[in-house]
C-alpha cells in the first residue's frame, strides 16, 4: 500500500494502519532495532513501541517520508532503550565499537572540550553529508545511523569489508576536518 494511504488510515484512526505499516516496514524496523539492540526480545518490543508511537503521533503529524519517519522512531527508541538500561541484553558489541570510532574521530587534541548546541551539530553533520559522494554517505550512515557491522555493509554495498573500512576511515577524517573548519572542535 502506498505511504499516503497508510497515513490516511492513521488519520482516520483505522487500526489497519498498524497492519499495513507492519506489512510494509516491519522487517525494516526490526533490522534497525536489532542492529542496535542485538536481542530478539528487545527488538520485538521496540518495533511494537514504534507502532504505538506512530499511532499516537499521526495525527497531528503527517510525515512526507513515512519510511524515514518510522526508521527514525525505531532508531531513537532503540538507543533510548540501551541508554536507559531497559535492554535485556545490552547490544554492546557493535555499538561499543562505533562509540570508539567516533570518540577517536572527535577527541580534542588541545584545550577543553567544546559544548555545542545540538542543532548546531545537526546542521554541521547535514552539511558534511551533502558533500560526501553517495556511496561513502551510504556507508557512513549504515555504520553510524543504522549501527551495522562492517561486514554487513560490505554485503549491502557489494564490496569487501576492507573497502568499507577504508571509506569509513576517510569519512571520519573528513568529518573531523569539517568540524574543525567550522570551529566546532
Amino acid at each position: 500500500m502506498e505511504d499516503e494511504r497508510i497515513i490516511a488510515l492513521y488519520w482516520r484512526r483505522d487500526e489497519r494502519a498498524i497492519d499495513e505499516t507492519d506489512r510494509k516496514y516491519g522487517a525494516l524496523c526490526s533490522a534497525i532495532a536489532y542492529g542496535i539492540l542485538e536481542s530478539h526480545e528487545d527488538t520485538e518490543e521496540c518495533v511494537s513501541d514504534t507502532y504505538m508511537a506512530a499511532w499516537n503521533s499521526l495525527p497531528p503529524q503527517r510525515p512526507r517520508l513515512l519510511r524515514a519517519y518510522l526508521g527514525r522512531i525505531t532508531r531513537n527508541l532503540s538507543l533510548n532503550r540501551l541508554r536507559n538500561g531497559k535492554a535485556g541484553k545490552r547490544g554492546g558489541g557493535e555499538l561499543a565499537l562505533i562509540y570508539e570510532e567516533l570518540e577517536n574521530c572527535i577527541a580534542a587534541e588541545n584545550g577543553p572540550e567544546k559544548h555545542l548546541e545540538e542543532k548546531e551539530l545537526i546542521l554541521a553533520v547535514n552539511a558534511f553529508l551533502a558533500g560526501l559522494p553517495q556511496e561513502e554517505r551510504l556507508m557512513f550512515l549504515y555504520r553510524y545511523w543504522l549501527a551495522q557491522p562492517v561486514a554487513e555493509i560490505g554485503l549491502r554495498m557489494g564490496c569487501k569489508p576492507g573497502r568499507v573500512n577504508s571509506a569509513l576511515y576517510r569519512s571520519r577524517v573528513r568529518l573531523r576536518a569539517y568540524l574543525e573548519k567550522e570551529g566546532l572542535l
Binding site: 506489512r23 536489532y34 567516533l102 572527535i106 545537526i122 550512515l141 545511523w145
Partner: protein, 511 residues
C-alpha cells in the same frame, strides 16, 4: 564533545538522507539474523501460541475446530489471526471476503501485479469510497466478481457521524446498548444503506476499567469487508456465554483483544476491542459487562435503513473547546509568517505568496471545472458537497455558503543540483515537487457543527500529470515559476490558515 553527542546529531540528519539510506537497505537486504529475525521469532511464537492454546484447552490438535475458532477464522499469518465480521465459515459472506483478502494480500505482496500506482479513481470507486476498500481497477473488478460469484448484493451508500441515537434513527433500530457507562453521544458510527453499521464506543469503567469497543453488524446477503484480529502471541480463551438479556453469544478472550460474536438470523454481529497501552488482559468482568449490555438479538434481526433521516440534520458541537485548542496547538507549532515568504528547508524551495483572492464563481479567477480534483469537496452549513456538486457546472457559480480561495505563488528551486533522492510525497521524477504539501486549514463552529479540515489544493493552474489526484510542479535548479492553487472552503469562516510543513500564513479577512 563526546561520541554520544555526535551519534545523537547523526540521528537528527535530514529525512532525505534517512530515506536514501533506508531505501538502499530495503533494496539490498542482507540475510543475517538481524534482518530476518522477525520471521524466525514470529514462527517460533506462532508454534508457542498453538502449543499454549492446546495446553490451555487440554485437548489434542483438533481442539480449535471443536471449540469454534475455525468457524470464524478468515486467515492467519506469523503475526495475526484474522477473525470474521461477515459470518461463519460456511456462509457466502465469509467465503467472499476470505477470497477477497487472499487476493488482496497476494496483489500487494506482488507489487500490484505491475499496475500503475496511484490510479485515477473512476466514478464507481468515488461513489463507493468509504463503503468498500478498493483503490485500483483490479481490486474493484475482484470485488464485483466475488459479489456475483457468491450472489451478494453491494452497498451503495454510507453515512458517518457521531451519536449512537442517530445510528439507531438511520437504521430503524431500538437502542441496542443498555449501560449507563456507555457514552452515547461520543460514539462514532458508519451506517450503510443495507442496515449494516460499524460503531466505535467508549465505555467508562466497564468491569473496573475504561475501554474502547467496536461493534459491527453486517446484514446477510451483502458483500462486506473488515475483520477482527488477535496477535499470534496471545493466549486465547473461548466460551459460550448467555448475556443478561438471555442471548447466547461466543466470547474469544486474549491478552490484547476480545471478540464477542453472535450469528443472528438476518445479521452477523461482532463486538471487539484492542488493548493498546498496557500488557494486562482485559478483565473477564469487563468483557462480560459489555456482552451483557449489548442487545445482540435486536441487532441480529432485519431493520429498515434510511440514511436520509439523519444525513441533513443540524449537528451539535462535540468537545468544541478541546478540539479548537488542539487545532490551535497544531498551528502554533509552525512558524507564523509575516510576509508570506519562506524557504522549505527540506526540498530547498523558496515560496512567496503573491496574493490571496476570494470569489464565489470559478470563472471570476479564470478556473474551469475540469481543473479541479475529482475528490475535491466543499463544506457549507454542516453539509459536505463532493465534486462536482459544489458548483453549477453551467455557470461555475459555487453553492451558497462556499467560496473559492485562489492563492498565487512564486516558487524558486534554490537547489544547485537535481532533486532526485528527496522523493517528496508522490514525487514521480527529477525536480518534480508536489503541491500536496501546501494546505488550507480551517476550524470553527458552523451551524452548530465543529469543523476542522485540512485539505490539499483542489485545483492547480499548471499541468496535472495524474488528473484527479495529485499535481506536480517541475522546477529546474535555480528556476523560478509562478502558478496558482485553488481551494473550495466555507464562506462563513474567517480563521483560515495556508501552510506547508515549515510555516503557515493566516489568511486575510474577507473584505
Amino acid at each position: 564533545m563526546k561520541a554520544e553527542a555526535l551519534l545523537k546529531a547523526i540521528g537528527g540528519i535530514g529525512d532525505e538522507y534517512v530515506d536514501e539510506l533506508l531505501a538502499h537497505a530495503e533494496k539490498n537486504p542482507v540475510r543475517t539474523s538481524g534482518v530476518n529475525i522477525r520471521k524466525t521469532l514470529r514462527t517460533a511464537l506462532l508454534a508457542a501460541v498453538i502449543a499454549g492454546l492446546l495446553a490451555l484447552l487440554g485437548v489434542g490438535a483438533y481442539a480449535m475446530n471443536v471449540f469454534g475458532i475455525k468457524d470464524v477464522l478468515l486467515s492467519s499469518d506469523r503475526e495475526k489471526i484474522y477473525l470474521s465480521r461477515q459470518g461463519l465459515q460456511d456462509s457466502r459472506e465469509f467465503m467472499a471476503y476470505q477470497e477477497f483478502m487472499a487476493f488482496y494480500d497476494d496483489y500487494v505482496a506482488n507489487n500490484y501485479y505491475g499496475d500503475q500506482m496511484p490510479q485515477e479513481q473512476d466514478e464507481w470507486m468515488r461513489q463507493h469510497e468509504g463503503i468498500y476498500f478498493v483503490y485500483t481497477q483490479r481490486l474493484k473488478e475482484k470485488l464485483l466478481e466475488l459479489s456475483e460469484k457468491y450472489s451478494l448484493k453491494l452497498r451503495n451508500d454510507v453515512y458517518e457521524d457521531t451519536g449512537a441515537q442517530w445510528c439507531c434513527t438511520a437504521l430503524g433500530l431500538e437502542d441496542f446498548i443498555d449501560d449507563p457507562r456507555f457514552d452515547e453521544d461520543e460514539a462514532a458510527f458508519r451506517a450503510y444503506d443495507d442496515g449494516s453499521f460499524l460503531i466505535q464506543i467508549g465505555w467508562g469503567n466497564a468491569g473496573g476499567e475504561d475501554l474502547d469497543c467496536s461493534i459491527t453488524r453486517n446484514v446477510k446477503g451483502y458483500f462486506s469487508q473488515g475483520y477482527a484480529d488477535f496477535d499470534t502471541e496471545e493466549m486465547i480463551r473461548q466460551w459460550n456465554y448467555t448475556t443478561g438479556k438471555g442471548t447466547e453469544v461466543t466470547i474469544f478472550w486474549g491478552t490484547l483483544h476480545f471478540y464477542i460474536v453472535y450469528d443472528g438470523p438476518e445479521a452477523f454481529v461482532v463486538a471487539s476491542a484492542a488493548r493498546w497501552v498496557n500488557d494486562e488482559a482485559f478483565s473477564e468482568e469487563a468483557v462480560t459487562a459489555i456482552a451483557d449490555a449489548i442487545d445482540f438479538e435486536t441487532l441480529g434481526k432485519a431493520s429498515r435503513a434510511d440514511l436520509g433521516l439523519v444525513r441533513n440534520r443540524p449537528k451539535k458541537p462535540v468537545q468544541t473547546d478541546a478540539q479548537m485548542q488542539e487545532r490551535q496547538q497544531l498551528i502554533e507549532s509552525r512558524e507564523q509568517l509575516a510576509l508570506g515568504q519562506w524557504t522549505n528547508n527540506y526540498d530547498g524551495l523558496m515560496f512567496r505568496v503573491d496574493s490571496i483572492r476570494y470569489s464565489t464563481n470559478l470563472g471570476d479567477e479564470g478556473w474551469q471545472m475540469e481543473q479541479f480534483m475529482q475528490d475535491s469537496m466543499g463544506w457549507a452549513d454542516g453539509v459536505c458537497y463532493t465534486y462536482p456538486d459544489w458548483a453549477d457546472p453551467e455557470t461555475g457559480e459555487l453553492k451558497e455558503g462556499l467560496r473559492l480561495i485562489t492563492v498565487a505563488l512564486t516558487v524558486t528551486n534554490a537547489n544547485t543540483r537535481d532533486n532526485i533522492t528527496h522523493q517528496t510525497m508522490n514525487n514521480t521524477g527529477t525536480n518534480n515537487f508536489s503541491n500536496s504539501l501546501l494546505f488550507l486549514n480551517f476550524a470553527a463552529v458552523s451551524d452548530g457543527a465543529f469543523i476542522n479540515e485540512t485539505k490539499r489544493a483542489d485545483a492547480y493552474s499548471g499541468e496535472n500529470p495524474i488528473p484527479g489526484q495529485t499535481s506536480f510542479v517541475h522546477i529546474e535548479p535555480g528556476e523560478t515559476v509562478s502558478y496558482e492553487l485553488a481551494y473550495i472552503a466555507p464562506a462563513a469562516l474567517e480563521n483560515m490558515v495556508f501552510f506547508s510543513w515549515d510555516a503557515c500564513l493566516p489568511l486575510p479577512p474577507v473584505k
